[in-house]
């Protein structure tokens, strides 16, 4: 995974709460067996509307999504993270993320940063007044800056460390292979096995 330290880019406001992962990527697109190439699938249904925010000329090339509360609810599909990344997003800002989506983001290198809903609404106004405004998201400092606007964001310490270092999660666990083997010797014999 590539390391994430500071990202600067333009943002799109998504005035929706409870954006479930079926909206982020409809199930039809989950038939693919690849890890990339999901940019066409992102918000596929909403993008049929020419007025949808990501279709508007002023929001082309955005890399930060400013979303309403409860983003990423529903299905565990990590394809939702991949579709956002393939489209060009590096950061999603939201006041509340669904647990599985937030976990998947951390694994894939998409920063899911939590800021209060009042700050989301302020950012919506800033971005709508000036869609070209550059927003900086600093993971080291846990800060979002946009012109005069500044706000601290929350992110899990362990996820932050892994993103900053660009570490492979599986590699970290494999360092504990010995204790995993020890644990396996202690497992009760009545547990089911397909072996």
């Amino acid at each position: 995974m590539d390391a994430f330290t500071v990202h600067t880019g333009t943002a799109a406001p998504l005035h929706r709460s409870n954006v479930d992962t079926d909206q982020i990527i409809p199930a039809e697109y989950l038939k693919r067996i690849t890890r990339h190439g999901f940019e066409d699938a992102l918000f596929a249904s909403w993008r049929k509307d020419p007025d949808f925010v990501l279709n508007r000329p002023e929001y082309q090339g955005v890399s930060i999504l400013v979303a309403g509360p409860d983003f990423g609810t529903g299905s565990s599909r990590e394809h939702a993270v991949w579709a956002l990344q393939d489209f060009g997003f590096r950061v999603v800002l939201c006041s509340r993320f669904a647990d599985i989506f937030r976990g998947n983001s951390g694994k894939g290198g998409l920063l899911a940063a939590v800021i209060p809903q009042a700050a989301i609404e302020e950012l919506w106004e800033i971005v709508e007044a000036d869609p070209a405004i550059l927003i900086t998201v600093d993971l080291q400092e846990r800060k979002v800056n946009a012109g005069e606007f500044t706000c601290n964001f929350e992110v899990d310490d362990y996820v932050r460390w892994r993103l900053l270092e660009g570490l492979d999660d599986i590699g970290i666990t494999l360092e504990h292979s010995d204790v995993i083997s020890e644990f396996e010797k202690r497992r009760p014999g009545f547990l089911p096995s397909l072996g």
Partner: protein
């Protein structure tokens, strides 16, 4: 120290813990399916890593398979490649697979329990958010993304931060015609789709104790719809009786050891939950969703809500969007809503008891003109059992379609879909926009309400039906 059920199962699976680090938890069972596993297998291959415990991994085909012509090659070439990829991957990595046509094939969350693979006190994961279903047995079971699928394949472990705990006390006796589905829809409407975020829910109280294992699975299944990754119910004699004799259940001396462990798996009397809510089961009525998230539900005898009555602007906008999408108007009685399709099935309500309950309502009655009733058993075994009881004939006589096992119209990856603008009453778990097909509109209901709705053509409870 006093502990909750979830804390006991958690601490029994800690492999490694450290200051400032997530706990490394051992995973007892990894369930996989065709949709969220191919990229994980690719990841293993790319890193040259083996799958650590094929004997603790089991695969089935469910999300992306047709429910008719199952003896023929899958018609959709993209779906066929995905299913064939699972078969090749399972062969290469030595994973047991129940493919289409196998008697054990079915929805992953129906297959685990019916094979006795789901047992109290286990940690169970799957690349599917409805893995919470298995919590009905007192297992800690939760959905994971594909990166975590690969992680479990490679290590049989996951680094996780401890969850908070929430008690959902459901006390009293359910009125006649009110089901496990109505309990969980009422819970979600009360705490909202984010109320459970960061928590493991423990369902407790006399109404939960009185449920069958099927009903308990329905309740735990939709924990994720309240935002909780996992839901649990303490195992008891109902649980043990269900497991006993299943193909992978312990037997002989192992059975005795297992039961004596399982009997310790309950929340200590003075243990503290981080949050508690209480629901009066005796006041519940059949429930239905009117909106586009599972928290937007009401008793069936109510009317469509008015966004103008809501002061919070975010909430008001959510209701307005939902009503526009669902083509409903404020004040409209829910029972006047007409449907085109009724879907009976899914990991929420596709088990034998669900089919029996619906069959009892629809027996000697007919599906309303212009309504399609699709009955999709949760597994091939459920289908066989239903046919042995003659339930297939009850549904066919009523004018329903009787299908093969799979996820089907719950998520509409296969040909079973709503057309744009079509409306369903569905026993599944999600009423999101387009969930059952682009432009489709979904009302979540119990199997009993689904059957009554199929007969009347409008959202209905069994008590609304004329005598036959």
């Amino acid at each position: 120290m006093s502990r909750t059920l979830a804390e006991k199962v958690w601490s029994d699976h800690i492999i490694h813990e450290g200051e400032g680090l997530p706990d490394l938890l051992y995973i007892d069972l990894h369930l996989i399916h065709e949709v969220t596993s191919p990229q994980a297998f690719d990841g293993l291959r790319a890193a040259g890593r083996p799958l650590r415990r094929p004997d603790l991994t089991v695969a089935t085909e469910d999300h992306n398979i047709p429910t008719f012509d199952v003896d023929k090659p899958i018609a959709d070439p993209v779906s066929r490649i995905q299913v064939e990829t699972l078969r090749e991957n399972c062969k290469e990595f030595g994973v047991t697979l129940f493919p289409l046509g196998n008697v054990e094939q079915g929805i992953v969350h129906v297959v685990g329990p019916q094979m006795g693979l789901t047992q109290p006190g286990m940690t169970i994961v799957c690349g599917d958010s409805h893995t919470s279903t298995h919590g009905a047995f007192g297992a800690l079971a939760f959905g994971i993304g594909t990166s975590e699928v690969e992680h479990v394949m490679a290590t049989q472990a996951l680094p996780l931060k401890p969850f908070k705990t929430m008690a959902i006390n459901v006390e009293g006796a359910l009125p006649e015609g009110v089901t496990a589905k109505d309990i969980i829809l009422a819970v979600i409407a009360q705490i909202g789709t984010s109320g459970g975020q960061g928590y493991v829910l423990e369902y407790r109280g006399s109404a939960i104790k009185a449920l069958s294992m099927e009903g308990r699975m329905t309740v735990c299944n939709m924990s994720i719809e309240a935002g909780a990754r996992a839901g649990m119910i303490a195992p008891d004699s109902t649980t043990f009786d269900y497991i006993k004799g299943k193909p992978h259940a312990p037997y002989g001396k192992d059975w005795e050891s297992a039961v004596s462990y399982w009997e310790t798996l309950n929340t200590d009397p003075d243990a503290q939950f981080d949050r508690e809510i209480t629901i009066d089961a005796s006041a519940l009525r059949p429930f239905v969703t009117w909106g586009t998230n599972p928290g937007q539900g009401l008793p069936l005898d109510q009317v469509v809500p008015d966004p103008k009555a809501v002061s919070d602007p975010v909430e008001r906008a959510a209701i307005e969007n939902a009503l526009a999408y669902m083509d409903l108007r404020p004040g409209q009685p829910l029972k006047e809503i007409t449907v085109d399709t009724v879907f009976l099935g899914s990991c929420t309500n596709g088990r034998i008891e669900d089919l029996r309950a619906a069959a009892q309502v629809i027996k000697n009655r007919k599906v309303a003109d212009g309504v399609r009733l699709l009955v999709v058993p949760g597994s091939t075994r459920v289908r066989i059992e239903a046919e042995a009881e003659g339930l297939d004939q009850v549904f066919l006589d009523a004018g329903a379609e009787w299908r093969g096992a799979g996820c089907s119209m719950c998520l509409a990856m296969n040909p079973d879909k709503l057309s744009p603008g079509e409306r369903s009453a569905s026993t599944s778990n999600r009423n999101f926009e387009g969930r059952q097909g682009p432009g489709g509109r979904t009302h979540l209901v119990s199997p009993e309400v689904a059957a009554a709705t199929a007969v009347r053509g409008t959202l209905s409870a069994p008590t609304d039906l004329a005598e036959v």
